[in-house]
């Protein structure tokens, strides 16, 4: 409970309230993007440094495999729900499903902070799992849409390349690798920026997320009540599955919870950009409204605490 009164969450609430009251508070877009890049570099580095300390293990490989599997399979379940309950067309359902199979870096970061505060910090390698989970869902989504759109073989190759070399993935894995190479000692001189500054920047970033989430909610016309409900049901299901899988493959409670958080989270950075290219006929506003304005706040406020409890209960 206490964790909900941490500055990080309170800044998110402040942003949401300001947007709800139609305040003109706004963070300049390049600053927001700069903070996002900073957060990715920081978690990549810190994860790499931790793995450099702890060494590799079989659990890591199991976590990676589980993450990949979740990212491929969640879209299938999501697609069925979105078509059946959500009454979406094939293309829109496939696009939204891809968002939910992929992951949200900021949800992961906020979740890690909360887990750390609760004394159950996830393992450093979970950052690599995060990076691995970003893209398979995109491909799953495209398969679900069955090559809709004008995509021929060459175009699909191009899209695959663009997806795998997506800025987020490259920065996360790259920083992770740098953390691995430099280790704790090499990290020390840059720690004031990447460790000391981390939570403060995260506060400002979540302020912006609160503003954006509520503004997007207001601007979207195609978000039905049924779809909003799915925006809550899906993270509940995916989070449970992810945490249980994490527990079964032998992850510690914190890492299992982190896997649950990854499964529960929905992308709003990498996937929207890819869908814009690959499924341009899909309603981009709808996917963003669901992932950013429904699922993200739900996860921050309730999903993460719930998943932590579950992981702790499983481990006990």
């Amino acid at each position: 409970m206490d964790v909900l009164l941490s500055p990080v969450i309170l800044f998110f609430v402040l942003g949401a309230l300001a947007a709800a009251a139609r305040s003109d508070l706004a963070i300049p877009e390049p600053i927001a993007k700069g903070m996002a890049l900073y957060l990715m570099a920081a978690i990549g580095l810190k994860g790499g440094v931790q793995v450099a300390e702890g060494g590799f293990s079989a659990t890591m490989a199991a976590a990676a495999a589980a993450g990949l599997a979740l990212s491929c399979l969640i879209p299938l379940a999501a697609f069925a729900l979105l078509r059946g309950i959500g009454r979406l067309g094939r293309i829109d359902a496939a696009a939204v499903a891809a968002h939910y199979g992929s992951v949200s870096v900021v949800t992961f970061v906020a979740g890690s902070e909360m887990l750390k505060a609760a004394g159950m910090a996830p393992a450093g390698f979970m950052v690599a799992v995060l990076a691995l989970m970003e893209t398979p869902a995109i491909i799953a989504g495209l398969v679900l849409a069955k090559g809709a759109g004008s995509s021929d073989a060459e175009e699909r190759g191009e899209l695959l390349r663009e997806t795998l070399l997506n800025g987020t993935v490259v920065l996360l894995l790259g920083s992770f690798a740098i953390g691995l190479v430099v280790g704790k000692e090499g990290f020390a001189p840059i720690a004031p920026v990447f460790d000391g500054g981390f939570r403060g920047i995260l506060c400002l970033f979540l302020l912006d997320m609160g503003l954006i989430a509520i503004r997007r909610l207001r601007e979207t016309r195609s978000l039905t009540l049924r779809l909003a409900g799915l925006g809550i049901l899906m993270p509940v299901m995916n989070g449970t599955v992810g945490t249980v899988v994490g527990h079964l493959i032998g992850l510690d409670a914190g890492s299992a919870a982190a896997l649950g958080i990854l499964a529960a989270s929905a992308s709003y950075i990498a996937v929207p950009a890819a869908m814009r290219l690959a499924l341009p006929q899909a309603d981009a506003g709808l996917s963003l409204a669901m992932s950013l304005a429904v699922t993200f706040p739900f996860n921050i406020a309730l999903g993460i605490p719930a998943v932590s409890l579950l992981a702790r209960w499983l481990a006990s």
Partner: protein, 103 residues
């Protein structure tokens, strides 16, 4: 004295991630150059949007090229497949250029 001549300015409003692809189409049509302007906000049939997205996935850009009537026609033709599928807006204006040989 400057020599001037009539040319066509073709303007294309598109999603940011599409710009690279559009520029490729533009280049193939034999134009001498192209320019991209940033777009701050907008609204249309579905949603209003503004460029406050973290990822820029809903951001737009305005690509324009000034070229001869023939090339302009070819460009419009070449853009047609993308017009509906990717929701581009395309319009053409008459302009008078100085140093016609540059366009």
């Amino acid at each position: 004295m400057n020599s001037t001549a009539r040319r066509k300015k073709v303007e294309i409003l598109a999603d940011q991630p599409l710009v690279r692809r559009i520029v490729e189409v533009v280049k193939r049509c034999g134009v001498t150059g192209w320019t991209v302007l940033p777009v701050a906000a907008g609204g249309g049939r579905l949603n209003a949007w503004s460029d406050d997205q973290i990822a820029g996935a809903s951001a737009k850009a305005l690509v324009f090229t000034i070229t001869t009537e023939t090339h302009a026609g070819e460009l419009v033709e070449a853009l047609t497949p993308l017009l509906d599928s990717h929701g581009l807006l395309v319009w053409v204006t008459d302009v008078e250029v100085i140093r016609p040989e540059r366009f």
